[in-house]
C-alpha cells in the first residue's frame, strides 16, 4: 500500500518535472536562438539548420548595426527617453504621492476620486491624440516623456508606501523648521528607495519598450526609437520581396533578418541586465498593486 503510494508519487513528480522542464525550454530557447542567429552570418542563417550554436560565426551584424547612424541614433533616443522619462516620472509621481500621503489633507476625498476615476476610465486613443496635437506635443521628443509622467497605478503604490513612513520623522523635521520640499527631498525620498526602485524599473522598462508613440506621434526620422526601428526591420525582413536580399551590399552577408535579430538582442540585453533588480522588487510591487487595484 505504502509502496504503491510512493510509486504514484514518483510518476506524479516525474510528470511535473518533465512538463516544467519543457515550459522552461520554450521560454528560454527563443532568446537563445535570437542570440546565436545574431552571431551567425546573415546569408547563412537563411539556409536553415542553425539550432544550437552559430554555424558561421561573425560579428559583421553588430558592426553594420553600429556603423549605421540610423540605428545608433535610434538607440540613443531610446536611452535618452528611458533615462529622462523615468527620472521625471519618478519626480512627479512621488511629489504628488507625498502630498496625498498626508491623512489629514483637506479635500483628499475629492483628490482620490479624481485619481481613481482616471484609473478606470479613459477617453480612448483618438481624443488623446487630439489633445497631444493641440498641445503641440506631436513630432517632438517631449511626446515620449510628458504624457507618461504620471501613472495613477504607481501613484497609489507610492502613497501607500509613504503612509508607512513613521510620522515622527516628519514631525521632528517640522520642529526644526524644515519646509515640505526639504522634508520631501531630504527625509522622505532617502527612506523610500524600495518603492522608488520599483517604480523606476517599471517606468524604465515601459519607456524602453514603447513603440506606438514613435510610430504615430512622431514623423521626424531623427526621433525614431529603437523599438520603432526594430518593428520596421521586422516587417521588412518578413516581406517576401526583401527577406532574401542582402541588406547592405558593402557588408558581406548581412540580411534584414540578421539585422532584425541583432537589434532584438540590443533591445533585450538592457532588460536582462536590470532583471535581477526587477525581480527583487516586483513581487512586492504586483502584490501591492493587486491589493490596491
Amino acid at each position: 500500500m505504502l509502496k504503491s503510494q510512493r510509486q504514484k508519487d514518483l510518476v506524479f513528480d516525474s510528470v511535473i518535472y518533465v512538463v516544467l522542464f519543457i515550459i522552461m525550454l520554450t521560454m528560454l530557447y527563443p532568446f537563445y536562438y535570437v542570440l546565436i542567429a545574431s552571431f551567425n552570418k546573415g546569408s547563412d542563417s537563411l539556409l536553415g539548420g542553425v539550432y544550437l550554436w552559430p554555424r558561421n560565426f561573425t560579428l559583421e551584424n553588430y558592426r553594420v548595426f553600429m556603423d549605421d547612424p540610423k540605428w545608433v541614433k535610434a538607440f540613443l533616443i531610446s536611452v535618452l527617453r528611458t533615462v529622462s522619462g523615468t527620472l521625471l516620472g519618478l519626480l512627479l509621481t512621488s511629489i504628488v504621492a507625498y502630498g496625498l500621503s498626508h491623512r489629514d489633507l483637506l479635500f483628499s476625498k475629492v483628490y482620490f476620486t479624481v485619481i481613481v476615476f482616471a484609473m478606470y476610465f479613459s477617453g480612448g486613443l483618438i481624443p488623446y491624440y487630439v489633445v497631444l496635437r493641440s498641445l503641440g506635443l506631436l513630432n517632438s521628443f517631449a511626446v515620449y516623456i510628458i504624457p507618461s509622467m504620471l501613472s495613477t497605478f504607481f501613484l497609489l503604490i507610492a502613497i501607500s508606501f509613504f503612509r508607512e513612513i513613521p510620522a515622527e520623522l516628519k514631525e521632528s523635521a517640522h520642529i526644526d523648521g524644515a519646509g515640505e520640499l526639504t522634508i520631501f527631498f531630504r527625509i522622505i525620498l532617502p527612506v523610500s528607495t524600495p518603492v522608488l526602485a520599483t517604480m523606476a524599473l517599471f517606468m524604465g522598462v515601459g519607456q524602453w519598450n514603447s513603440w506606438l508613440d514613435s510610430a504615430y506621434f512622431v514623423q521626424s526620422e531623427e526621433l525614431r526609437t529603437l523599438a520603432f526601428r526594430m518593428m520596421e526591420v521586422i516587417n521588412k525582413s518578413n516581406s517576401p520581396m526583401d527577406s532574401l536580399a542582402v541588406a547592405n551590399s558593402a557588408s558581406a552577408g548581412v540580411t534584414s533578418f540578421s539585422l532584425q535579430v541583432t537589434s532584438m538582442v540590443v533591445s533585450i540585453v538592457p532588460i536582462i541586465c536590470v532583471y535581477p533588480f526587477l525581480q527583487k522588487y516586483f513581487v512586492h510591487g504586483i502584490m501591492l498593486g493587486s491589493v490596491k487595484g
Binding site: Y98, L106, M264
Partner: protein, 327 residues
C-alpha cells in the same frame, strides 16, 4: 480626523470656515504638490474623456480641442455607420473570438503552472523555472513578434526549416500570413509572454494556505492529486475569481494576457486580415491613418461601454456564484 472635528464643531459657521482656511493655509505646499497631479490628470486624462463628445459630432482635426465643443452635433450618425459597415460582422467576430480564446486558454495556464510549481520540492529548480517564466513579460511585443517571425516565417523561420528538413511538409506553412493560423498564433504568444507573470499572484495565494491542512490531509491518506483538488484549488478560489473578473472586464482589450491591440496590430497583415483585424485596430486605422476622427471615436466608445458593462456583470455574477468579488 475624529479628534479634530470636535473642537471645530464648537465654533460658529464663520469660525469653522476660518479654521478650515487656516488648515488649508498650513497645508498649502502639499496642495500645491497634489495640484500638479490634478492639473496633469485634467489635461491628459479628463480632456480626452470630454473628447469622446466628438463621437456625436462632425469633428475635424484642424479645429483642435475647441472644435470638440463647437462642431455640429450629428447624433448617432457614426454609430449607425459603424453598425452598417461592411466589415462590422468580421470585426465583432474577431474581437470576440480572440478574447474568448484567451480566456479559455490563457487564463488557466498560470493557475496550472502555479499548482505545478507548488508541487516541486526542489527549491532551486522551482525558483529557476519561475525566474525564467516571467522574463518574457518584460520584453516588448515588438520583440515577441520578432521572435515569432524568426521561428515561424515561411522564408527564414526555424520551425518551417525544421519541418521541411524532417520531411513533414514540402511547402513552408504560412503561419504568419494565413488567416487560419492567426488566432492560434495570438493566443500562443500571449500565453508565452504572460503566463509566468500571472503565476506570481497565484503562487502568493497558494502560499497563504496553512501547511497544517496539507499535513492533516496526508494523515487521512489523501494522495497528491486529492490534495491539489481539495486544498490547493479551494485555497486559490478567491484569487481566481478576482483575476477572472478582471479578465472578463478587460476581455475586449485582451484580458490579463497582453493587449489584443498590440498583437492584432503587430502580427496582423493584409493576408491574415480576415481574422486579425479587430475593433480596436480598425478604429486606430480609420482614425489615425484615414483621419476620420469622429468615426473612430464612436467605434472606440462602443468598445469601452461594452467593457464597462462586462466588468460590472461579471463582478455581479462572481459575487452571486462564489461569494468573492472585486468590489
Amino acid at each position: 480626523m475624529e479628534l479634530e472635528t470636535q473642537p471645530r464643531s464648537l465654533g460658529t459657521g464663520g469660525g469653522r470656515r476660518s479654521i478650515l482656511w487656516k488648515r488649508f493655509k498650513k497645508q498649502k505646499v502639499l496642495h500645491l504638490f497634489v495640484g500638479l497631479g490634478m492639473i496633469y490628470l485634467l489635461i491628459f486624462a479628463y480632456t480626452p474623456m470630454f473628447g469622446i463628445l466628438m463621437a456625436f459630432k462632425d469633428y475635424s482635426i484642424s479645429s483642435g480641442i475647441k472644435g470638440i465643443f463647437t462642431s455640429d452635433w450629428v447624433g448617432l450618425r457614426y454609430f449607425d455607420e459603424f453598425v452598417h459597415d461592411y466589415q462590422f460582422g468580421k470585426l465583432v467576430r474577431n474581437t470576440l473570438v480572440l478574447s474568448l480564446l484567451k480566456v479559455i486558454f490563457a487564463f488557466p495556464a498560470p493557475i496550472l503552472l502555479a499548482i505545478m510549481l507548488n508541487e516541486v520540492k526542489h527549491m532551486a529548480f522551482k525558483r529557476f523555472v519561475q525566474t525564467i517564466s516571467y522574463l518574457p513579460h518584460f520584453i516588448s511585443w515588438v520583440v515577441v513578434v520578432g521572435v515569432s517571425y524568426a521561428f515561424l516565417s515561411a522564408d527564414v523561420g526555424v520551425v518551417n526549416k525544421a519541418l521541411m528538413a524532417m520531411g513533414f511538409t514540402d511547402e513552408p506553412l504560412a503561419f504568419l500570413t494565413s488567416p487560419n493560423y492567426f488566432w492560434g498564433l495570438a493566443v500562443g504568444s500571449a500565453v508565452w509572454k504572460e503566463m509566468g507573470w500571472w503565476t506570481i499572484i497565484f503562487l502568493a495565494a497558494i502560499s497563504g494556505i496553512s501547511p497544517s491542512q496539507y499535513e492533516a490531509a496526508e494523515i487521512d491518506g489523501a494522495g497528491r492529486l486529492a490534495r491539489i483538488r481539495y486544498i490547493t484549488l479551494p485555497g486559490m478560489k478567491g484569487t481566481i475569481v478576482v483575476v477572472l473578473v478582471l479578465t472578463i472586464g478587460s476581455i475586449l482589450g485582451g484580458g490579463l494576457v497582453g493587449s489584443n491591440f498590440e498583437q492584432a496590430y503587430l502580427l496582423g497583415n493584409s493576408i491574415n486580415n480576415p481574422t486579425s483585424e479587430i475593433v480596436q485596430t480598425y478604429a486606430f486605422r480609420v482614425g489615425l491613418s484615414d483621419g476620420r476622427f469622429s468615426y473612430a471615436a464612436a467605434i472606440d466608445l462602443i468598445q469601452s461601454v461594452i467593457s464597462v458593462a462586462l466588468i460590472f456583470s461579471s463582478n455581479y455574477i462572481a459575487k452571486r456564484v462564489s461569494g468573492s468579488s472585486l468590489f
